[in-house]
């Protein structure tokens, strides 16, 4: 008797503590849920590997490093897709924009530019990257213009774009694969040389940690200035320490993935030396991952600190009210699609650099992974709701499922598609339940 009466009380208290914790730290419960799901997937794949196959290979520096690189291009596009979906649109063409920008960048750096400046000239990769991003942005602006000014639904315009740009990419090279790309350009795709190394990674970690601490202190200063209630001091400490520990742990992981033997041999051969005994050169953060982090920070600032971001949310919440408030909703639509296109161009840079070639399959089906990432990350298809960090975690979840299935031996595609498809539907269903409960 006593036990049964006591138990619910204990539970009440525990719930009270959790609620208090969430209120004090102002952490979004959905964020915690997403991170929890991600960790569950990681541990699940690792344990399956360890127990069933006798080799847990998921939670290894090597796999986690690869995971970060594979997430980069999808993650970058997902941050843009958040804006598109918040404003009640969709962009089905991003995979084809990756393909067409990748193809033209391939032609530009392999066949056109070297004729004028010579092979391996440092201008080649700069011009190529700028060209790819601008081309993507122009394609996006064109599609956005048709959606905004001709009132064609975005689903139709970008479905057309999906076919058109894929076709253009094929015609541009007459179906050839353009390879290899400029050697500097290829570094943007990651790999042993396309990473920043151990020291560089620690410098980035130091800057990022300083950023976290500045955010905490500045937030507190701002609240005090306007006389708003302050977070408890322990909560500020907790948030600061949490942010810094995540950064340090991530850095430790990428810094414990060494260069493979073959690369070491090549590297020391070019130096004219033998490989020293027991040498350990760490990868550190790969360039595409650094790009993803920079894009994520800039997009978060754009969405939370600028008028542009405000208007994106307002248009999603009530397009009519936004227009009546003097917001030029049509121009906003063009800008949002141009931004999405530009990010797809950047993803095209990373994808073609990583493959070291421009192929006709580049970016194929990416649109679905990108949309799924945004939606799994809590972006509402009804509009008005979504976060950049959510989309990136969503991308991590999807890429984790994809690579995890390969690692545990279900890599032939069919099982992978079933699992990812089911995960997408499940994630959205859980989100719907969550939203209903908080209402």
């Amino acid at each position: 008797m006593t036990e049964t009466t006591h138990q619910p009380q204990a539970q009440d208290k525990a719930e009270g503590a959790i609620a208090r914790f969430l209120r004090a730290t102002e952490l979004d419960p959905r964020l915690i849920g997403m991170v929890g799901a991600l960790l569950l997937i990681w541990v699940g794949f690792h344990l399956y590997g360890a127990l069933v196959l006798g080799d847990g290979s998921f939670l290894t520096p090597r796999n986690l490093w690869n995971l970060s690189v594979q997430t980069a291009s999808i993650g970058i596009m997902a941050t843009g897709m958040v804006l598109v979906i918040i404003t009640r649109n969709i962009d089905l063409s991003v995979g084809s924009i990756v393909g067409v920008t990748g193809m033209y960048m391939g032609l530009l750096q392999v066949e056109w530019l070297p004729q004028y400046v010579g092979l391996g000239h440092p201008m080649i990769w700069i011009v190529t990257v700028a060209f790819g991003i601008i081309m993507g942005a122009l394609i996006g602006a064109l599609q956005g213009g048709m959606i905004a000014y001709l009132s064609i639904p975005s689903f139709i315009v970008t479905l057309g774009g999906l076919l058109v740009w894929r076709g253009v990419a094929f015609l541009a090279s007459s179906g050839r694969t353009i390879s290899p790309v400029d050697s500097t350009f290829a570094l943007i795709g990651g790999g042993p040389y396309g990473s920043i190394g151990a020291t560089g990674s620690w410098i980035i970690a130091a800057i990022a940690s300083a950023g976290v601490i500045w955010l905490v202190l500045n937030g507190r200063k701002n609240r005090r200035l306007h006389g708003f209630p302050l977070r408890p001091v322990w909560a500020e400490w907790f948030m600061g320490l949490l942010g810094c520990s995540i950064i340090v742990i991530a850095t430790l992981i990428v810094n414990s993935y060494p260069w493979p033997k073959g690369i070491l041999k090549d590297y020391y051969a070019t130096l004219g030396q033998d490989v020293p005994e027991g040498v350990f050169i760490a990868h550190g953060y790969a360039y595409p991952v650094i790009l993803l982090a920079v894009v994520a920070i800039l997009m978060t600032i754009l969405m939370t600190r600028t008028r542009f971001g405000r208007y994106v949310f307002a248009i999603g919440g009530n397009p009519e009210a936004a227009a009546l408030s003097g917001i030029n909703t049509r121009a906003m639509t063009v800008k949002i699609f141009a931004l999405m296109g530009g990010l797809a161009g950047l993803a095209g840079v990373i994808a073609s650099a990583r493959l070291n070639s421009a192929t006709n399959a580049l970016g194929d089906l990416d649109e679905l992974y990108v949309i799924a990432s945004a939606v799994v990350g809590g972006t509402s298809l009804a509009g008005g709701v979504g976060t950049i960090y959510g989309a990136i975690i969503g991308a991590l979840v999807l890429v984790s499922l994809q690579t995890g299935m390969v690692l545990i031996g279900f890599g032939d595609g069919s099982y992978r598609k079933i699992v990812i498809g089911a995960a997408l539907v499940l994630a959205v269903y859980l989100d719907i339940i969550y939203r209903k409960r908080i209402k």
Partner: protein
């Protein structure tokens, strides 16, 4: 009461606008003086809201002209209207439900700091100030306005119009969704704004509110102006006659 005295604050002269061959507003002329409330009356579909949307910049008139303080102005967008200190409280309130009160209040006119970033804390502080004046019981500053009651949403919409020092206020059925207490609060606010010298166009269906709040009433029917009367010179029945029969009382101005 408001016999013509000097230059009107707003003159809408000979305004016409049609949608697909239907004349929603047909050569209508109305005016508004400082410190005056002009009621716009008529059946649903009489053209009141359409007429007023030409002034707030949501629509553009096909013909006619708008004068502010005697000077002809072009209002082609809500932004133009705001630049003329014209603020509108729409019947639908025109709030973005997913944003909080401060974001809605400053929508399209966000306070930015020297870096061009939106100054969220300043905006919230300003919102707290104006809401303390308009609706002292308002506490829900950090939730989306979808979580607010009808009256609270209304006070956000009103705060938005009042905060930016409107000279001309358009209120489209401001009390339609409100309880008696809140309706009284809106009535008091209109009186206060009148004293400050604002001109108010009030679209209203409730004839008692019209008699209580308005100085003059302009009645529309089928897109045309039936007439404009001084409210203290006519009876409820005169105005109802104008609305229903489109008949102007003999003694009206």
């Amino acid at each position: 009461m408001s016999t013509n005295r000097g230059t009107p604050l707003v003159e809408m002269r000979d305004i016409s606008i049609s949608f697909g061959g239907i004349k929603a507003v047909d050569h209508v002329t109305v005016d508004l003086y400082p410190g005056e409330v002009v009621g716009l009356l008529g059946h649903n579909g009489a053209g009141k809201s359409t007429l007023i949307k030409c002034l707030s910049g949501a629509y553009q008139a096909d013909a006619g002209e708008i004068r502010i303080n005697g000077e002809k102005v072009e209002i082609t967008s809500p932004r133009d209207a705001r630049a003329q200190n014209i603020e509108t409280i729409y019947q639908t309130l025109a709030l973005a439900d997913n944003l909080d009160a401060a974001s809605n209040l400053f929508l399209g006119r966000e306070i930015v700091n020297s870096f061009g970033f939106v100054d969220e804390t300043k905006m919230e502080a300003e919102t707290r100030k104006i809401m303390a004046r308009l609706n002292p019981n308002f506490r829900k500053f950090n939730v989306p306005v979808s979580a607010l009651s009808g009256g609270q949403r209304q006070s956000v919409a009103i705060a938005r119009a009042v905060y930016f020092n409107a000279k001309i206020l358009i209120m489209d059925e401001p009390t339609a969704a409100l309880g008696p207490h809140e309706t009284q609060m809106v009535a008091e606010l209109i009186e206060e704004l009148k004293k400050q010298g604002l001109g108010i166009f009030l679209i209203e269906h409730d004839i008692h509110n019209v008699m209580k709040l308005c100085d003059r009433a302009s009645v529309m029917k089928n897109g045309q102006l039936v007439g404009t009367v001084n409210v203290n010179e006519v009876t409820d029945d005169d105005i109802l006659g104008m609305i229903i029969m489109g008949k102007k009382p003999a003694k009206a101005a």
